[in-house]
Symmetry: C2
Subunit: 223 residues, 2 copies
């Protein structure tokens, strides 16, 4: 073996796209989108900032790749379901939990329009809808409604948890503060919002989320 015995190229030492993406996910989990920085990412991976650009196009590309990693993992569980309706529910709930655990994913997905992570979600929701018998012309509005509802509500919920966590209060206390602000609104101009304040304080996010999914599914008229 002519190769030098010192510093053999150990597999763990190589900088790969996968290692970069994993480190990016960790950074995003810790500090949100502001926490992902090429400098600290390079430090974590023990390289120079520029090295990362060999494996990744730019920050947007990295963010999309990180989202795709999270979404792929989330969609793997709950793959088998009894009915198409249960399949939609399982996908919705898996995404809800994934976005709750990785608060930055919601916003990142929206910016990743027709890209891979979104296509995966589209597919996971679309297949059961077809099985459910949704007519051809209604499929797009139906997946749209489901997709945006899921990302929107889950994103909002995750944002609430995240803000609460960073302000060192629990979720309930945070929602209570929002409810208090709502109750200070003008009674004539904002009757609905004021009426929702009490509900906001006590509601169960997960249960309401599933109720919303059912509401949309109920709106479909299978052929």
């Amino acid at each position: 073996m002519p190769r030098s015995p010192t510093r053999p190229p150990r597999r763990d030492d190589v900088l790969t796209r996968e290692r970069i993406v994993d480190a990016a996910v960790a950074l995003l989990d810790e500090g949100g989108e502001a926490g992902l920085t090429f400098r600290v990412l390079a430090e974590r991976l023990a390289t120079g900032a520029g090295a990362i650009y060999w494996h990744v196009d730019n920050k947007g590309d990295l963010l999309t790749a990180a989202s795709d990693a999270v979404v792929t993992r989330a969609l793997q569980q709950g793959a088998q379901a009894a009915s198409p309706r249960d399949a939609v529910r399982a996908v919705a709930l898996a995404l809800f939990d994934a976005i709750d655990a990785h608060a930055w994913v919601g916003a990142a997905l929206i910016r990743a329009a027709g890209r891979m992570p979104m296509v995966r979600i589209l597919e996971a929701l679309g297949q059961p809808l077809v099985a459910l018998g949704v007519a051809e012309g209604e499929r797009w509005p139906a997946v749209s409604a489901l997709l945006h509802f899921i990302l929107g509500v889950a994103g909002q919920n995750a944002a609430n948890s995240h803000v609460a966590r960073t302000h060192e209060v629990d979720r309930t206390a945070f929602l209570s503060a929002v409810a208090d602000r709502w109750l200070e609104l003008d009674a004539a101009e904002f009757p609905f919002t004021r009426g929702m304040a009490a509900y906001l304080r006590e509601h169960d996010d997960r249960a309401d989320f599933l109720a919303g999914v059912d509401l949309i599914l109920d709106g479909l008229h299978p052929a």
Copy 2:
């Protein structure tokens, strides 16, 4: 009059929160969220960057204020409607158009959680829902579904228009390119998405948007 005749404090010269917000909206329209910078904002307003901080807390505050200005204007039109259902449709369409004209608003609203612009939308959607007879316990899931659908779809549509505009192709050409990418996907793994590709090329965003709103409204069970 003891006041010096030169440089009388003309009303138009004063730096007000309103003037700052208007300039911010213009900057955001021109260059998206990256286009809003305290330096160029200060230049536009012929002041120093630090002066803006006297009227505005920080960039997030400014972004929320800019969103609120756009939302308030959008909700003013279409205020009177024949039926509650028409009222919901009018609000939805007004927001769709406003977000299409100001592509940055969608994302900005989502980050403005329980804040003023969101409360305004909540109220504009909630009041007709109550008039529609939606039961107490269903009101929150119902507004949630509507709200997130509207912001999600409108935001997506605006992002598409915006990307198309900056890449100097028209919307149709851009959506066509996305459809082409979808058709390159694996047929066994992504049958639904591939099936939607043709639809994506020819569909009418506004019509589909309204169809989605109707779909959610149909899912409600008035008491």
